[in-house]
């Protein structure tokens, strides 16, 4: 800090001049040299942080291992005729690679229904509160940026990272399949796999926005992480038990019911189970990856009567899972809206 005056004189007068220049030539220059918007700057920095963090590397290794494991199992079983030709969706090999299993290991999309949650929680649980704890939040918000830009960047950057991750995994799978089996891929398969990836990103996005919500709510990162894991455990383990208990207590004995009543009750129970995001995700991915699946609920004999045993078209599968997709998007948006509401007007203090 020696002789600051000397330093500063030159520094500032130079800048002032250059400022004056830009003011003069603003109309011509600004179009070419528009500064990057703060939102993009934050997103870039967040992505950099995510990719370099140990936490992401651990999660990445976990997911890649799962992926390789399930791929290995399906590759060894794909030649088994009992597993492949029982269902009349011959030809869609790549979907089978994703779904076939011999029972020793769940297939990839089932794995993702809980790993995705871990991934989302892991990437978001300290998004806001750690910055507040470190005193960087107040510094950041003292800059000319909008608060929603900050919050949105916290949500978008992990999403970009995981989109890249799953997209590359999907493409790896397709490429590897091409090399190993030599079977060419069909457009429908590409579409279905892309939808599967989209669904997975959406699912992770839900957990991400939930954990960001908790990180806005709780001052301590550990509290928000534990709460998020608690919610996840509740939905994966206890929710089913609770629903079953309630059903047993309230619904009449199925032995005394007509078939249509049983069907109605079944649909009701399924409806309740679908409050769990993992259920929505499993439903949606199962339909997308197995074109033979026609319905997510029970079907009556009448409904099945005229059905031709052929795989559904892509559009029909999407139509079946549309409620699930909507539900996931709605849950994500809701979490995000609440965190937005909490964050926008709150006092920022370090």
């Amino acid at each position: 800090m020696e002789s600051p005056v000397v330093y500063f004189k030159g520094l500032f007068s130079k800048k002032l001049k250059s400022n004056a220049l830009t003011v003069v030539g603003a109309s011509s220059i600004s179009k070419h040299k528009q500064p990057v918007s703060p939102f993009v700057v934050i997103v870039k920095k967040e992505i950099g942080d995510q990719v370099r963090s140990w936490r992401f590397i651990v999660l990445l290794v976990l997911i890649v291992l799962t992926f390789l494991g399930s791929m290995y199992v399906s590759m060894t079983n794909i030649t088994n005729p009992a597993a492949s030709s029982a269902i009349p969706d011959n030809g869609l090999l790549y979907l089978k690679i994703l779904t076939t299993t011999d029972g020793s290991l769940p297939s990839f999309h089932i794995f993702m229904s809980f790993l995705g949650a871990i991934l989302g929680i892991g990437l978001g649980f300290d998004a806001v509160n750690s910055e507040q704890q470190n005193g960087t939040l107040i510094r950041l918000l003292a800059q000319p940026i909008y608060r929603d830009n900050f919050l949105l960047a916290k949500f978008i950057s992990p999403l970009i990272v995981i989109s890249a991750l799953f997209l590359s995994l999907g493409l790896l799978m397709i490429g590897g399949g091409l090399v190993i089996t030599g079977v060419s891929i069909e457009i429908v398969e590409v579409l279905r796999i892309l939808t599967f990836i989209l669904l997975t990103v959406l699912y992770v996005g839900f957990w991400l926005s939930l954990s960001i919500l908790l990180s806005v709510k709780f001052k301590q990162a550990t509290t928000s992480a534990l709460t998020a894991i608690g919610i996840w455990l509740f939905f994966t383990i206890f929710y089913k038990i609770v629903v079953n208990m309630v059903v047993k207590a309230f619904l009449p004995d199925p032995a005394f019911l007509s078939q249509t009543d049983i069907l109605d009750y079944n649909n009701l129970i399924l409806g309740f189970l679908r409050f769990a995001p993992s259920q929505l995700y499993t439903d949606a991915t199962t339909v997308m990856l197995m074109p033979a699946v026609r319905s997510l609920g029970p079907l009556t004999m009448e409904q099945m009567a005229g059905a031709i045993p052929a795989p559904l078209s892509f559009r029909e599968s999407v139509l079946i899972v549309w409620p699930q997709i909507t539900g996931l998007i709605a849950a994500t948006v809701m979490c995000f809206a609440i965190s937005y509401y909490w964050f926008m007007r709150r006092e920022i203090r370090s």
Binding site: P4, F8, F12, V41, G135, A142, I348, S350
Partner: protein, 338 residues
């Protein structure tokens, strides 16, 4: 005081039933260095947060550079550089990247941002530690980095919350000198809050004494002290080479000088209170008596005394209002918690 840069009108902030800031009115004009002084918990930080739109006032209006800070905080933040008292940096990034990040957020073009960041690092004396991770920085270095960050956006107003906290005395002096230079050269308005009174005394044009959410006084230090101590005497302290011998005799003779009303003696110093400034007369008196004078000092009232005085006043006020009962409750910390 035309066109104040910072204008607070009837600003009030309630936390539940606690009044953190109570009907605050303040104007700070361009190029001024204003010191906001007060004990911990007086509401200084809350006031600053309201100026930046980081928290909303319960009532009242804040305008900074002509923008309403509550409804249009982004415009305010473009003009204002703020250094929080307890700031942190991204520990995983090196100092320069931290600075560049903030520069980018302020819309400095990519082509110039790095160059400017390096210049500022040199300015604040961190050029040697430019590539070090921010996590390894000491408190004082962080403070300097914080100043660089405030300056990178070329602010019109700088708000510093406890800027001298955690820096060694030499560092404080450098820091404050730097701020003063900046303010004078670029006519940047500076608002700094502190509870370190004598440090602030060196640089501030005006100070505001802030206790329990209320601005008790706001003026320059000279005026404050004359206003406060006008009834008090001028006090002169004279130091001698040897302890005085004929104390009684001197006492009598000194009291005969016009205006002298109290004399206090310790070994070889004498403290004389007088209603007017009679320093030359005292010196002449002792020289005639053949005493060796080592030093003559006129006691000045600094911020410390001013602050103490105001603080005592509020204390007595509270006592008369019957707010505090026991001696323990009257103690400093208890009072602030209330």
């Amino acid at each position: 005081m035309k066109n104040p840069v910072i204008e607070l009108i009837g600003l009030t902030k309630l936390y539940g039933s606690l009044k953190a800031v109570d009907n605050l009115n303040l104007e700070i004009s361009k190029g001024e260095i204003y010191g906001l002084l007060g004990p911990n918990g007086a509401g200084k930080t809350t006031t600053i947060l309201m100026m930046l739109g980081l928290t909303e006032p319960t009532s009242g209006k804040v305008s900074v550079c002509g923008y309403n800070a509550t409804s249009n905080p982004v415009a305010v933040k473009q003009k204002v550089g703020y250094m929080p008292d307890n700031m942190g940096f991204y520990d995983g990034m090196n100092a320069l990247d931290n600075l560049v990040y903030i520069g980018r957020l302020n819309g400095i073009p990519e082509s110039r941002v790095k160059e400017r960041a390096v210049e500022l690092m040199e300015l604040v004396g961190l050029s040697k530690a430019i590539d070090k991770k921010a996590g390894t920085y000491s408190r004082g270095m962080k403070q300097r980095l914080g100043l660089a960050e405030v300056l990178i956006k070329q602010p019109e107003v700088i708000i510093l919350d406890e800027p001298t906290l955690g820096i060694d005395p030499a560092g404080v002096k450098e820091f404050l000198t730097l701020i003063k230079e900046l303010s004078k050269q670029q006519s940047i308005t500076v608002l700094l809050s502190s509870h370190h009174l004598n440090q602030v005394q060196q640089v501030c044009d005006r100070v505001g004494i802030f206790v329990e959410g209320r601005l008790l006084a706001s003026d320059n230090i000279d005026k404050l002290s004359t206003h406060l101590f006008s009834r008090e005497a001028h006090v002169v302290i004279i130091t001698f080479a040897h302890p005085l011998q004929n104390i009684e005799e001197y006492n009598q003779q000194l009291l005969n000088i016009e205006g002298v009303n109290a004399i206090e003696m310790h070994d070889n110093t004498i403290e004389i209170s007088c209603t007017r400034n009679a320093t030359p007369e005292f010196v002449r008196f002792f020289v005639e008596k053949g005493q060796d004078i080592m030093g003559v000092q006129r006691k000045e009232y600094g911020l410390e005394e001013i602050y103490q005085r105001y603080f005592e006043n509020t204390l007595t006020e509270n006592e008369t209002n019957g707010k505090s009962g026991s001696i323990f409750q009257r103690s400093f910390f208890k009072k602030i918690k209330k």
